[in-house]
Symmetry: C2
Subunit: 135 residues, 2 copies
């Protein structure tokens, strides 16, 4: 018994919001951004829909940064840079994920690989240029 899915304006808006930014937003970010346009939006709805998108593969999780899970509407495998200072998540287009890596990982582990994540952590250019101030 499959669960039929109905359309909803809020769902459309949430997905559009995630896909129209390169900030790799968190649920709260999406909520805050949509709230002015959709005053009766609730945070629970954002979480519920994001979870749906993840399940169906429409979006992807970039991981948890400073306690907040971050998402990406770009489901193509690509490399990320995560700033430890400001929490920014940036795409690194100059480096790409080696093609055969997933297969090699399956061979090495004997498991099934569904995704590969390659990311760097450090201080982004803006934070680095603000001087060596640690935090």
């Amino acid at each position: 018994m499959e669960k039929t899915r109905k359309r909803s304006k809020k769902r459309d808006a949430i997905l559009a919001c995630i896909c129209s930014t390169d900030t790799h937003p968190s649920a709260e970010w999406v909520y805050t951004r949509l709230k002015p346009q959709i005053p009766n939006l609730s945070l629970g709805t954002v979480y519920r829909n994001i979870h749906m998108f993840l399940e169906e593969g429409t979006i992807v999780s970039v991981g948890v940064v400073d306690g907040l899970e971050r998402f990406d509407g770009n489901t193509e495998p690509h490399v990320h840079f995560i700033c430890e200072d400001c929490g920014a998540v940036l795409d690194v287009r100059a480096i790409d994920v080696p093609e055969d890596l997933n297969h090699r990982a399956e061979g090495a582990t004997g498991g099934q690989v569904s995704a590969c994540r390659l990311s760097f952590t450090g201080r982004c250019r803006d934070c680095a240029s603000r001087g060596p101030g640690k935090s």
Copy 2:
């Protein structure tokens, strides 16, 4: 004014616990494992010390899996496999992180790279062999 650090048996035990396993444990896992030997250990202490180890670079974070942050006493850069089914985090020794990647990332982003993380997600061998049952 530097903060001098005093020795503590609990701290030693926590670090030893993390370094003596390849399960990439969570704070709670460490707590549960040490509790029988150290009955008056408290979870807050585990968190506090883990945070200390992270700061000084004695251990490393592997990321958040199923809402739990996981740690690794092996600070050498290496590849991980994360099972979506059972939450296991495994080392993938057959694949290694390309050497010059951090430098290339710095060049590409203009920032300072402190670490690189390469990980696969999927179903581990044990879970995969249990048949295609989704969850």
